[in-house]
């Protein structure tokens, strides 16, 4: 080390260029040498972004593009795309009462989620937002259904809801035997039965999310409010809920997008039946596209679903999420 320093000093003193010390970084500042630096930077960028971009383009963007293309053809999935039929698939799908029903069901699920799950999870979180023993156990238990797969959840509830099964028996034991229904076989009830299962699976996520959001509400604010004579209800209404706004808006976004793409639970428990009473857009397109080998038609249904999700997300970003730190998506629109 010392000898290096010595030779360097000698070199500098004698006005000769240092032996091998010209570091690329140093020469990079010199004009003509800037080129290799820029090329290197490009290469670096390509190496960093390339893999993700290829993966993303190949499995997210390309399928979307080809779906649009297939949707314009009458195509069974084999042979060349030759039977161009324009927008006929779209018209046929939108004219099909079953598909319209499926869209309606998705919207019903979305509305039910916001109307029931939001107050329940928010209310529970507000009640539990105090020092309680066993917080960890509570978190552990409440969150568990969220981690259990949809497939297992569906199988469990399918068995519990069998006629004369667990649910019926418990209701009889509680003296509610008169209210027992054929939960999954009644076209007027099946939608709501499934909604209960959905609620069981996802409510814990909402509660925990809101509990975490409540931790961010400063205690001082509430104390100040109570010193000023605010009732607990007023303090919730005017302090807690506004501060919880971003969390609530995110929850609503997730709940609606989740409702629009509901599939696993419905498919395993009812296959969209009985008589299409619990069809969702995805069960419809899997049944009428995938299983019937109508890939052009199924693609059209997929594109419609896609447009609905996209429209909702953009509108929601623009009008509801705008007040939160502007999301990346708002920037696309602007």
């Amino acid at each position: 080390m010392a000898t290096d320093r010595a030779t360097l000093d000698q070199g500098l003193a004698s006005g000769l260029p240092g032996p091998t010390l010209a570091s690329p970084g140093r020469t990079g500042t010199v004009r003509p040498a800037a080129r290799p630096g820029r090329a290197r930077r490009r290469l670096e960028l390509a190496a960093l972004i390339g893999p993700a971009l290829v993966l993303f383009a190949c499995f997210v963007l390309v399928p979307i593009v080809i779906a649009v293309r297939y949707s314009l053809y009458n195509w069974s999935g084999y042979g060349p795309l030759s039977d161009f039929i324009g927008l006929h698939n779209y018209r046929a799908a939108l004219d099909d009462p079953v598909f319209r029903g499926a869209i309606l069901h998705n919207f019903i699920y979305a509305a039910l989620s916001v109307v029931f799950q939001l107050p329940i999870s928010l209310g529970t979180a507000l009640l539990l937002n105090r020092k309680l023993r066993g917080q960890r156990v509570f978190r552990l238990v409440t969150f568990a259904p969220y981690v259990v797969s949809e497939a297992t959840t569906a199988v469990i509830w399918l068995l519990m809801l069998q006629p004369g099964g667990f649910v019926d028996q418990v209701m009889k034991d509680m003296g509610l035997g008169g209210l027992v229904q054929t939960w999954l076989a009644d076209i007027h009830i099946v939608l709501y039965t499934l909604f209960v299962v959905i609620t069981w699976k996802y409510i814990g996520f909402g509660i925990i999310l809101f509990l975490a959001g409540l931790q961010g509400v400063p205690v001082e604010l509430k104390e100040a409010a109570s010193l000023d004579g605010a009732t607990p209800a007023q303090s919730v209404r005017h302090i807690t809920l506004p501060l919880l706004g971003p969390t609530i808006r995110i929850w609503v976004f997730l709940a609606v997008i989740g409702s629009l793409q509901l599939f696993d639970l419905v498919w395993i428990m009812t296959l969209g039946g009985p008589a299409n009473a619990s069809d969702t857009m995805i069960t419809y397109l899997i049944y009428n596209g995938f299983q019937s080998n109508e890939f052009g038609y199924g693609s059209a249904a997929a594109v419609i679903l896609f447009i609905i999700c996209f429209a909702f997300a953009l509108l929601y970003q623009r009008f509801a999420l705008r007040r939160d730190t502007a999301g990346a998506l708002t920037r696309i629109v602007n």
């Binding site: 993966l55 999935g77 969150f143 949809e150 004369g164 999310l209 931790q215 995805i282």
Partner: protein, 294 residues
């Protein structure tokens, strides 16, 4: 949703002023009651499955709500002895691990470039990735199936793992970018002065610093992939390739008469996810909530 300043998604620490007079307001007993009711509703179906797995189908049919009498272990042992169950677990593990590794590796590199390089079209590129946030794999499943068929990836576990990794990229980049950006520029300058390349800076300084965020995205991607049903359903039709959710659903249809066996299978299918969850509860809950609270 897009946080400009990123707080590590650890569970919020209990408020600094923790040692406070413990107030016993009227609400506290009511809170406990609520907590118990919520936990009860959550637990009953899970306990029902686990306990009924110890009964015979005949017992279950005659009395749906009862303790096992006598306790029967054959339902569980026969599932545990079946090679199919372990096969499903193995397939799920392979798919979830592959998808997670791919997402975290490619996503963190891309997030690094999008966070700490300035180049033309950077924000546009970021926006392209963010479009993916709107489309969970379910929406694109049918076209994806056709595309995978073209690529010859049907009946191939990679045909599930690759798209799942791709669909996890948007939130991976979304979560990681602000995190990588928040690391002060002085650190980078110091590293450069010390002769480190930018990639070296990424590997030796950024990655260790952003471990909480990396864990978050890894857990999110693992759970999503482990539980996925629709894409595997379309891509994998040979039972040899089934993942655990597919296997569970197909077991239910195959043995629909044998309620006890299905319950035992369902109970065991919950074990890996629940075990993983109990071990990493703080991280998982913290991840999901932290990732969402901007």
């Amino acid at each position: 949703m897009a946080a400009t300043t990123w707080a590590p998604p650890a569970l919020p620490a209990r408020s600094a002023a923790a040692p406070k007079r413990r107030r016993w307001s009227l609400g506290t007993p009511f809170s406990y009651m609520t907590a118990f009711v919520v936990m009860g509703i959550t637990l009953v179906p899970i306990l029902y499955v686990v306990i009924s797995g110890f009964r015979t189908s005949a017992q279950i049919n005659t009395a749906p709500v009862a303790w096992p009498h006598p306790w029967v272990f054959t339902n569980y042992t026969s599932v545990l002895k079946s090679s199919a169950f372990w096969h499903y677990v193995g397939n799920s593990l392979f798919v979830a691990l592959t998808a997670t590794a791919l997402t975290v590796a490619t996503g963190s590199l891309a997030a690094f470039a999008l966070a700490r390089y300035s180049f033309k079209g950077r924000e546009a590129l970021f926006a392209v990735f963010m479009v993916g946030l709107l489309f969970p794999a379910g929406v694109a499943s049918l076209p994806l199936y056709l595309w995978l068929k073209n690529l010859g990836l049907l009946e191939n576990l990679m045909g599930v793992a690759l798209p799942e990794a791709a669909f996890s990229l948007p939130y991976t980049i979304f979560i990681l970018r602000p995190f990588l950006r928040a690391v002060p520029g002085e650190l980078e300058d110091a590293a450069v002065v010390d002769g480190a390349s930018r990639l070296r800076f990424f590997r030796s300084i950024l990655v260790p610093l952003s471990r909480p965020a990396l864990t978050t995205v890894a857990i999110l991607s693992f759970i999503t992939s482990w539980n996925a049903y629709l894409l595997p359903l379309l891509v994998l039709s040979n039972p040899i390739h089934y993942t655990l959710p597919l296997g569970t659903a197909s077991f239910q249809t195959t043995y629909s008469q044998d309620t006890a066996a299905i319950l035992a299978f369902a109970a065991l299918s919950m074990v890996p996810a629940l075990a993983f969850f109990v071990l990493a509860e703080r991280r998982i809950v913290g991840s999901l909530t932290g990732a969402l609270r901007g």
